[in-house]
Amino acid sequence: MRCTYSCGSAEHVLSRRSFLGGTAALLGGAVAGVPGFSPFALADSLEKKRKQILVVYLAGGSSQLETWDPKPKTETGGPFGAIETSVPGIMISELLPRTAKLMHLMALVRGVNTHAAAVDDHGKGDYLMHTGRAQAPGQEYPRLGAVASKFLGKETDALPGYIHIAPGHGGLGRNESAFLGPRHAPLYLGNGQAPANTLRDPAITDPADQSRQAFRCMLNDRFAKRRRSAETEAYTSTYEQAAKLMRERDVFDISKEHAADRFRYGDFDFGRHCLLARRLLEAGATYVQCVHSNYDTHNENFAFHLEQVGEFDQGFSALLEDLHVRGRLEHTLVIVMSEFGRTPHINFYQGRDHWCKAWSIALAGCGIKKGIALGKTNAKGTEVVDHEVTGGHLFHTYLNAVGLDPAGGFEVDGRPIQIAEPTATSIKELLA
C-alpha cells in the first residue's frame, strides 16, 4: 500500500531526476538535473540493458605487487612469483591463479598515481577513489554508489540503489550521498546480513498490517498537505523502501543458493559476500559494493596477503565468471580497487606501508576493453613510466563505461556541479 502523495504524482514522486535535499548534505541546497546538462546524453538505451556496477573494495590498501603488478626476483618484489594469465604477455601475482584464468575478461590499470591528491591517507584515498575528487574542507561530493543510485536506479526498484556489503557490523557513518540526499545513501549489510527488522512480527496478521498501513498513509497524506518537506519525502521514501525490502527479504539469504556454489565461492566471509553480491545483482540491484578487509599490512605483509588475496581470488573469480557465463557482464561494470597501494620498499616488519605514487586497479565488464593491461611502472615499481592516471580519470571512465556523461551534472542552490571532476577526462584506451 502506498500513500497517495508520493506514488503517482509527478510533483511528489521522488524521481532520480528530481530534487531531494539531504538533511546531512554539506552543500545543503536544492539539487536538480540541469536542462542541457544531463548525464543521460550518452544513455539513450539505458532502459533496454540495465547498467549495474559492482565494486570490490580491498580495504586498507592492497599491494599492487602482490596482485596486479608483480615484480618477482627484485629487491622490492617480495617472495611471491608471477604467473601467466589467459592473456599472453600479461602476468599477475601467483596469489591469483583463478583470476589469472579470467584475464581475457579484464583490464588492468597499472599506472595509477594519486599522489597529487596527497592520498597516502586512508580517508583521503577512499574519498578520491569513490568520488574522483580530492577531499577538501567544506565540500562533500556523492560517492560512485550514490551517483549510480541516482542516475542508474529506478523509482520502482525493489532494492535500494546503493548497497554496501561490509565486514563486521557495517555502516561507516559517512555522508556518502552528499547533496543527493538520504534516498541515495547506502544500505549497509553488516557482515552480509539482511537489514535489521525486515521480518514482520508474526503476531501481526495480514489484515492488521494492512489496516495500520492505511492508517499511517492517511496521517501522512493529511500532514503532507500542509507541511510537506524534503525530510517528510525522505521519510516516506525510506518507509516504502523498507516495505519493499521486507517483501524481498529472501534476496539477502544466500542459503537459498546451491551448496556447490557456496563451496565454490569459499567458506569464509568474503566468499559469502561475493555470492550475496551475485544474488543482489541478479535481483536488479543497481550498485553493489563488496568490501574485503583488511589489507593495511604494515606488518607481515606477505603472510597477510597470502591469506587475504587467496580469499579474494576464490570469491572474486567465482563471481566474475558467473557474471560472464550468465550474460550479465556486458551490462555490469566491475571495479576492483583500494584507497591506495603499498610501498615497493619492504619495511623491517616485513610489511609494506601506504603508497599512492604507482599502483594498480582492475576493471571488467560493461564498457571496458577486455584482456588489456594499461600503464606501466618501472622495474622496482616505484614510479609510473607509462599511461599515468589518477582517481579523477578513473571516475570519468566508470561513468562513461555505464553510459553516463561525466560532464553531466546537478544544480545545487542554482549552481551547476559536474558529476565528475571537470579537469579530468576518461581513459579512452580502457573504453570498449
Partner: protein, 336 residues
C-alpha cells in the same frame, strides 16, 4: 652440544658481524661449529666460516629462504623457501650445488627439522601440512594433516621419539615418530589473536624448543596484539609441561617491549635464550624457566628475524633486516 657450559646468562656481548646485501630471514650454526649459514630475501643460502669470515653462496631457490636445518653429521644441510622447495646441499662444498630439490609445500616451506639419527627430515608449510622425508633419498615417507592453519614450526625431541608441530592458532601437536600417530594437542593459544576489527588471524607459535630433559616445551611468539597489521604486540614465551602439555608459565619482558619472539632455544645450562624483533628493534633475552620476566636483555643494532645457539653454548647468531649476520657471545661464569 656441551652439557655443562657454565656461561653467564646475564652477560652478552657483540663479537662480530658478517655482511650481506639483502635481509637475512634465518640462521643456523653447523653441528661442527665451524660455520654459520643464513637464508636471505635475495634467494640465497649464505655460509660464513666463523674463523676466516670467508663467504660462500648457495644458489638455487627462486624466492626467499626462510628455513635451514643440518643433519647431525654436519655434512648435509637442507634449505626451504617461499618457492615451496626443499633443497639438499653438501654444507661444506667450495662451490655448492643442489644435491636434490623437491617441491615440498605450496606456496611456502615454513620450517625444517632433522631427526636426531639424521635419517628423516620433517617440514611444515603454509599449506597446513607436515611432511616427513627420507634424508638419504628424498622420498616422501609420510604426510600429516590436521592443522587448520599455517604450520610455523616442526621439531623432533632429543631422542627422536616424538615430533611436534605448531601452528598459527597456537596449537601444538605431538606425534609419535615411529608411527606418526597423533598423541596429543597442546595449548599455546595465548600466542594467537583474532582481530575482529581488522579481520585477521595473527600470532601463533613462531618457534619451539624442548628442554634437554624433555620436561618443558617452550613456544615463542607474541601476546597483546592490539594492532596486528600495525605491529603493535608484545614478545612472549608460553612454557608447557612436557608430560601433561599444560601451561606452566607465560614469560614476557618486564619493560614495554614491542615485537615477536621469533626464536627460542634451551641452553644446556637450563635457561632460555630468545630473540625478539619488532617495534623495539632486535633484542636477545635470557629467561629462567621459573620466572615470568627476563634475566637479561641485550639490544642489537637492528631488527632480527632469527637466532641460533652455537654448539659450544657460548656464541649466538642472529639474522637481521640490514643483511648482517651478527655474532654475540655469553660471558663465562667467573670461577674463583
Amino acid at each position: 652440544m656441551n652439557t655443562a657450559v657454565s656461561v653467564d646468562p646475564a652477560k652478552i656481548a657483540s663479537v662480530k658481524e658478517f655482511a650481506h646485501s639483502s635481509p637475512l630471514m634465518t640462521c643456523r650454526f653447523d653441528p661442527t661449529g665451524a660455520y654459520v649459514l643464513a637464508g636471505s630475501q635475495d634467494r640465497l643460502v649464505i655460509r660464513w666460516n666463523l674463523e676466516s669470515a670467508a663467504k660462500t653462496t648457495f644458489e638455487a631457490h627462486e624466492s626467499w629462504v626462510q628455513a635451514l636445518a643440518f643433519a647431525p653429521d654436519g655434512r648435509t644441510v637442507l634449505s626451504g623457501g617461499c618457492d615451496g622447495k626443499l633443497i639438499w646441499w653438501n654444507a661444506t662444498d667450495q662451490k655448492p650445488k643442489p644435491i636434490r630439490s623437491i617441491a615440498a609445500h605450496h606456496p611456502w616451506v615454513r620450517s625444517i627439522a632433522v631427526s636426531p639419527d639424521g635419517k628423516l627430515a620433517a617440514t611444515s608449510g603454509t599449506d597446513k601440512l607436515v611432511k616427513i622425508w627420507s634424508i638419504e633419498d628424498g622420498k616422501l615417507v609420510h604426510e600429516i594433516s590436521g592443522h587448520a592453519k599455517d604450520v610455523y614450526r616442526v621439531l623432533f625431541d632429543s631422542k627422536g621419539a616424538f615430533l611436534f608441530s605448531a601452528d598459527l592458532k597456537g596449537l601444538v601437536k605431538r606425534w609419535e615418530a615411529a608411527t606418526w600417530k597423533h598423541l596429543a594437542d597442546l595449548d599455546a593459544a595465548k600466542l594467537y589473536h583474532y582481530d575482529q576489527g581488522q579481520g585477521v588471524d595473527f600470532g601463533g607459535v613462531r618457534d619451539l624448543a624442548i628442554s634437554p630433559d624433555g620436561a618443558l616445551i617452550a613456544c615463542s611468539g607474541l601476546i597483546e596484539a592490539s594492532n596486528p597489521l600495525g605491529a603493535v604486540h608484545t614478545p612472549a614465551i608460553v612454557l608447557l609441561d612436557g608430560k601433561t602439555g599444560k601451561e606452566k608459565l607465560l614469560e614476557r619482558p618486564k619493560e614495554d617491549i614491542k615485537g615477536s619472539m621469533w626464536s627460542v632455544r634451551f641452553h644446556p645450562d637450563g635457561f632460555l635464550l630468545a630473540g625478539s624483533g619488532g617495534g623495539s628493534g632486535g633484542l636477545l633475552f635470557t629467561f629462567k624457566p621459573d620466572q615470568v620476566n627476563e634475566t637479561y636483555k641485550f639490544t642489537l643494532p637492528n631488527m632480527l628475524y632469527d637466532v641460533d645457539l652455537h654448539p659450544d653454548g657460548k656464541r649466538i647468531a642472529s639474522a637481521h633486516y640490514d643483511g648482517k649476520l651478527r655474532l654475540s657471545a655469553f660471558a663465562p661464569v667467573k670461577t674463583t
